[in-house]
């Protein structure tokens, strides 16, 4: 009895099937991973940092509403300013 019996040679067709099978699996994995990376977040999902900033702005807005009421003040459009595009509050 020998441990090193030569395995019978597989027919070639088996090798091709497993190669295609693993290629498909690998392809699907790459596609799914890539898609999830570039996919837009579904509506309603907010990054925690943005949510925090939003809460802060909402609080500032509340304070200003109080200030306007307390000082009998109004907001009148001003001149001489520029919007910093791409820089959110």
């Amino acid at each position: 009895m020998t441990f090193f019996k030569r395995r019978p040679k597989r027919p070639m067709t088996g090798d091709w099937i497993s190669c295609v099978f693993f290629s498909v699996i690998l392809g699907l994995f790459i596609i799914i991973t890539a898609e999830s990376m570039f996919q837009k977040k579904p509506a309603g999902t907010i990054e925690p940092s943005v949510a925090e900033a939003h809460r802060e702005v909402t609080e500032r807005a509340r304070i200003i509403r109080e200030v306007l009421k307390q000082g009998h003040l109004e907001l009148t459009p001003g001149r001489h300013y520029r919007v910093l595009e791409g820089e959110e509050s």
């Binding site: 943005v50 500032r60 000082g71 009998h72 003040l73 109004e74 009148t76 520029r82 820089e87 509050s89």
Partner: protein
Amino acid sequence: MTPLLSPKIQCTLCPNLCVMGDYERGKCRVRINQGGELFSLVYGKPCAVHVDPMEKKPLYHFLPGTGILSIATAGCLLSCKYCQNWEISQAWPEETRNLDLPPKDVVDAAIRSGSRSIAYTYTEPTVFYEYMWDTCALAHERGLRNVYVTCGYINPEPLRELAKVMDAANVDLKGFTEAFYLDVSGGHLQPVLDAILLMKELGMHVELTNLIVPTKNDDPKMIREMSQWIAKYAGGDTPLHFSRFYPNYRYRNLPPTPLEILVQAREIAMEEGIRYVYVGNVPGSDYNSTYCPSCRKRLIHRIGYEVLSFEIDPETSACRFCGTKINGVWK
């Protein structure tokens, strides 16, 4: 979908160039970003309204002896440690007691009070730029003049626009070193110098005030350098007022300016070629009066804010004694 956060904005009215997030205010406390647009909190909301003599602004070469309706809102672009009006200039607009006085009512009040002009003063009028501009335009339509009492901390573009409706300015040139401006006022010197020259170029009548604070900006060398700059660039016929400091705000520990310092400053300025130099906040001083630079005769005799005699021909702006032309707006 509307963006969650509005864009930041940058106010370009004064050299502070404040960047504001949504619902944030600038350094002056009265300009705010709401939804990516800039708004003024003090339009039509003055916290001070008085009728003053023109001499109180101080303007000595602009319609002397006339009354001037003077308005101010809360807020300032600078934070001078010796501010004489700090209760309103360093206040938030919700902390002051404000009137409801739209531009039309200001002009009506000026006319009713017999004033010939309106002053934007006490705090820093640049902070209520839109209110000031609209009032100026209406005042012109009704035959009134406008006076801008300012620290001169304004950017060139808004100043050009303002000069279309503004007749005269008294600019507070606080000192003549960058270090003084940074330490005492929280601003810079160069923009003020640029604004003074631009006002002159745009045809406004300009007078300058320098409030001398003991130990802070009373160095004769600095006063000489400032006088040299004024004589060379703004012109020797620009009236200059050296004003007396009284302890106030964060400089309550300093004494009032000694009279000799003010007189010495006047002498230095005259040596450097400035022809009309006054000493202010000193009632009864001889240096409140205007003298002809040629014949040395007294042309306008002032005691305090009172004008007792006037010897300038308003038609020709000439000295009644020798005919020398005197810089100013006399009618």
